[in-house]
Amino acid sequence: MALAALWQRLTRFDRYLLLALALLVGVSFLLPFGRRPGARVVIAADNRTVFSAPLDEARRFAIAGPLGPTRLEIADGAVRVLDSPCPHKVCIGLGDARRSGDLLACVPNRIVVRVEGEAQGADYDLLSR
């Protein structure tokens, strides 16, 4: 009831403005501010870099970890884990990593996949508007 009384304090204009601004903020959560698509995939197994490949060449491969081979795929400018011998499969659930700084990790199998660098001809950027 107290909330309804507070809501009465807003003018109609205020409410529309609030709605529009809330939508704007919601949209801003979806935008990848300042993060451009990455250029390379760098994979570390047990803290040692074991694999590196460009992100724009599709391929499938496997990295050996303590539990067995983790199978990964690079396709459409993104890297993802296809299959892993770990118990909870969290790494598969992490989905795609495509932007510079994205990270996929399979902790039980001690494999960390990083996306690094910035692709040439990167897409939009907030600051260039």
Partner: protein, 227 residues
């Protein structure tokens, strides 16, 4: 109200100056209190001092809002020892952009916009201005913009809270005879609610406020405040 034989306009000017000084003092106090509150990240602050800028804007107009904001930032930073430190620049840029947006919105949409709308715009402007200056002068790292959505969401919420606080404060202040002359010029939620009263009777006791106010202070005209 102590001096009797003065020009009412002169009295009004002096009164405005006194109230602005009070607003600035209160804003500095809130600024300092907020600085002392622990916060998870350096920029997550409620901006409570903006309540006073909003009040000044709705009572005395854009120039008063500028006076309150700029004085509050200068004096508050001086008191806290952050004057001309990096944080001061952030505070200043946020304050300037916020006040720019608030006064702009006030001028453009005055009859329709209320304190909450103005406050939310100001809060988002504050967040944007701070982040912009932080990026230009201090960190210049693209991942800074990752904070923007979270920052804006927080600003939106705190803007609504501050706007409601300012609306309550305005309603309270306008009950006082010192502001009786201003009551005609600023359409506030009290009047809005009184207008809405025939349509919805949801907010029970609250529209009794204007009535009580008028009963308490009969002279509701030019002569108010003059004996």
């Amino acid at each position: 109200m102590t001096c009797s034989a003065v020009d009412p306009r002169e009295l009004e000017r002096v009164r405005q100056r006194v109230f602005l000084a009070l607003f600035i003092a209160l804003a500095v106090a809130l600024h300092a209190v907020e600085y002392l509150l622990p916060s998870p990240l350096p920029w997550f602050r409620f901006g409570l001092a903006n309540i006073l800028s909003l009040t000044a804007l709705f009572l005395y107009g854009p120039r008063a809002a500028w006076a309150v904001t700029l004085s509050r930032i200068l004096i508050g930073s001086l008191l806290l020892g952050t004057l001309f430190a990096p944080g001061f620049l952030l505070s200043l840029s946020g304050g300037v952009l916020a006040t720019l947006l608030m006064t702009g919105a006030y001028r453009l949409f005055r009859p329709h916009i209320g304190p909450v709308g103005v406050s939310v715009l100001g809060a988002l402007g504050h967040a944007g201005g701070q982040l912009l200056i932080a990026w230009l002068l201090i960190v210049r790292h693209p991942s800074l913009w990752l904070m923007l959505p979270l920052f804006l969401l927080f600003a939106l919420i705190s803007g609504v809270i501050n706007g409601l606080a300012a609306d309550l404060l305005l309603e309270f202040l306008l009950q006082h005879p010192a502001f009786a002359r201003l009551k005609n010029s600023c359409r506030l939620s009290t009047e809005r609610r009184a207008e809405r009263a025939p349509r919805s009777d949801l907010s029970g006791g609250s529209h009794k406020m204007p009535a009580r106010k008028c009963a308490g202070f009969p002279p509701d005209n030019e002569e108010t405040g003059l004996p």
